[in-house]
């Protein structure tokens, strides 16, 4: 499969580059846009970013490995990020994650993001999502779910199954 960035996306990224006096600054925004489009950041995407921003591929690679939001392989269509940190833990976020994992047949003891074999779901523990007053919170793709009850968690799974 050859790597190609649609011209509309490339135009968008070219415009973004003009926001900065130094091209390199646009790296994170490039990676966000490419990940959104392709679902993950491939080696080709890093090389493409590097050449667009006049960098070495290593300059981009080291960002992908540093920033937790970037990933190098595709994840589930429904990406469930459960907040692990204190205020959410106090309201049962560990149990919530366990519920997600159990229902989906994933390993609830695992340390890293878990994806179902059918590619539908990824479940991950993340750090404080800055919504501690409505704990426990879950970020599903780009939507924030607050005060998530066990029933609400099942509803998230039901919706994801329809995708």
């Amino acid at each position: 499969m050859s790597f190609s960035v649609p011209s509309s996306l490339e135009a968008e990224l070219d415009e973004l580059t003009t926001h900065y006096p130094v091209k390199r600054s646009a790296s994170l925004m490039f990676l966000h846009a490419l990940q959104e489009h392709f679902g993950y950041i491939s080696k080709e995407a890093m090389e493409w970013t590097a050449s667009k921003l006049e960098l070495q591929p290593i300059n981009v690679f080291e960002l992908v490995t540093f920033y937790p939001m970037f990933r190098q392989e595709p994840l589930g269509k429904t990406h469930i990020k459960v907040c692990r940190t204190l205020s959410c833990a106090l309201q049962g976020s560990a149990e919530l994650r366990e519920q997600f994992c159990k229902r989906l047949g994933l390993d609830s003891q695992a340390h890293t993001a878990q994806t179902t074999p059918d590619g539908k779901f990824t479940v991950e523990f993340v750090e404080c999502l800055a919504s501690c007053g409505t704990a426990p919170v879950v970020l599903v793709n780009e939507s924030l779910y607050q005060m998530v009850s066990p029933a609400a968690a099942d509803e998230i799974l039901r919706k994801g199954n329809l995708k």
Partner: protein, 477 residues
């Protein structure tokens, strides 16, 4: 009864209030900007003349405004450190990385009233001759980034932003830059590196003070979202009026994020120092007390990095008596006024103004385990004491929460933490060490007992509860 004082959050929860510019304008939006750019220069007693921009800089100083991001540093003073003679451009960055555990105040502004921030930013940029500014928003707030982009576009179309703002000849551009999930991007020099397209490795100070060598090695102002919003109100009210809010040296209002074991978690705006910790937790206007049958065990008063306070503690605070003399008085923990100075005198800090309440059902060992896990995950890895130490702290607390504790773990935890603080590039080192030092000091019995119990159980042949993941449940049941 103590009341909220809604300055920044005034409209946030009003039915019908929306993030678009028409709504903001109907509520008096951008009046401060019009007022500031039309204001005259000021003649001082010594004959010196201040330009309108200098007037605003002086007013921010006179308002007493202190940074709402964590350190509580005077905003006016920070602005006065900016190197204006270098000939280099001056940048301003709004720190919207909000990621200190417990904190969720900036989120409210960004999502519900983005123009309030943008107006504060335009004013701050204008006052400091900034032509290019950024909002660094954390990656997990995609909706906030979208709303900000829409709001910036609206502001441009109305002539509040872009070329020749309100016909004054002043040009300013503001762009949104998204982070990607790293806590250290909230540290201002890490944020700057990240904005330059690099790993968010904090820079060492000296020499890299942002005011002198910041973004692209140019003078740079980094301020928190809430801090910048206050500038709008300082202009609207006038510095002297603004300074009457709150208490001396702790002026204005502050949004407190309240979470944990209370009946009414949420964000509450108060006049700084006019409400006590006890009122924040127990008043029906605020936290509404603890769950039935529960009693207070501890409070984390200023975000997860602040030192914990134990129920029943009494502090010696400096207070001015009616005769004007300073003296030390005893203040019980719940009577501490919620402000910068009182909490500092109580040996902790108001930090990001996030209060996390713990009741008597909670294990302090498990609570620390949860926090230590956070710091181990978030260390950027540049400094050995922080990278290794934060991990050791997490491993030691993990042991203590999984049947593998030892009697000496309390001392061991303190020893590691002491070897991190003061030995690192950035204040993350302290942020990781302080919770540990305060937990094991104030709840020593609990840590000792856990280690001893684990040892006794193992002597009887108990197996540690091996879990590959160090994440444990915090619930007591």
């Amino acid at each position: 009864m103590a009341e909220q004082f809604k300055l920044i959050t005034k409209h946030l929860d009003e039915p019908g209030f929306s993030p678009d510019i028409e709504c903001y304008l109907q509520h008096g939006g951008y009046a401060a900007l019009r007022k500031a750019v039309a204001s005259p220069s000021r003649e001082l007693a010594d004959g010196k003349k201040l330009s309108p921009q200098e007037v605003l800089r002086e007013d921010v100083k006179a308002s007493g405004l202190r940074g709402r991001g964590g350190a509580g540093f005077s905003a006016g003073l920070k602005w006065s450190f900016v190197d204006r003679r270098s000939g280099k451009p001056i940048y301003l960055i709004c720190n919207a990385d909000e990621s200190e555990p417990g904190t969720f105040k900036d989120r409210q502004i960004l999502h519900r009233d983005p123009h309030q921030l943008i107006e504060g930013m335009i004013l701050s940029c204008w006052a400091n001759d900034v032509k290019l500014a950024y909002i660094y928003i954390r990656g997990e707030m995609p909706e906030g980034a979208r709303l900000l982009n829409v709001a910036l576009k609206e502001a441009r179309s109305k002539g509040f932003l872009g070329k020749n703002i309100l016909g004054t000849g002043y040009d300013l551009e503001i762009h949104v830059h998204r982070g990607a999930g790293a806590y250290i991007c909230g540290e201002e020099t890490g944020l700057i590196e990240s904005l330059e397209g690099k790993r968010a490795y904090p820079r060492i100070k000296p020499p890299y003070f942002p005011a002198i060598l910041g973004l692209y090695m140019c003078p740079t102002i980094v301020n928190n979202v809430e801090t910048l919003c206050h500038v709008t109100h300082i202009v609207n009210m006038g510095a002297a009026e603004y300074a009457k809010l709150g208490t001396p040296n702790n002026t204005g209002t502050r949004i407190v994020s309240l979470s944990g074991d209370i009946n009414r978690p949420g964000y509450y705006e108060i006049e700084v120092g006019k409400v006590t910790l006890g009122q924040l937790i127990h008043d029906s206007n605020f936290g509404g007390g603890l769950k039935p049958g529960r009693s207070l065990k501890a409070i984390i008063p200023g975000g997860s990095s602040s030192k914990v306070l134990k129920a029943g503690e009494v502090f010696k605070l400096n207070r001015k008596g009616p005769d004007g003399q300073m003296s030390k008085i005893d203040v019980p923990m719940l009577d501490l006024p919620y402000d910068f100075d009182s909490l500092q005198q109580a040996g902790t800090m108001s930090g990001s103004s996030a209060v996390i309440v713990l009741d008597d059902s909670r294990s302090m060992v498990k609570t620390l385990g949860n926090l230590s896990e956070f710091y181990a995950h978030e260390s950027c890895g540049q400094c050995t004491p922080c990278r290794e130490g934060a991990l050791w702290l997490a491993k030691a607390t993990h042991r203590l929460t999984h049947g593998e504790g030892r009697k000496e773990d309390t001392a061991y935890l303190a020893h590691i933490a002491q070897n991190i603080q003061g030995r690192t590039i950035c204040a993350f080192g302290e942020a990781a060490a302080w919770p540990v030092l305060s937990f094991v000091k104030k709840f020593k019995d609990e840590f000792d007992a856990q280690g001893a119990a684990d040892e006794a159980a193992r002597a009887k042949g108990a197996q540690p509860t091996h879990r590959p993941s160090p994440v444990g449940t915090l619930n007591p049941h």
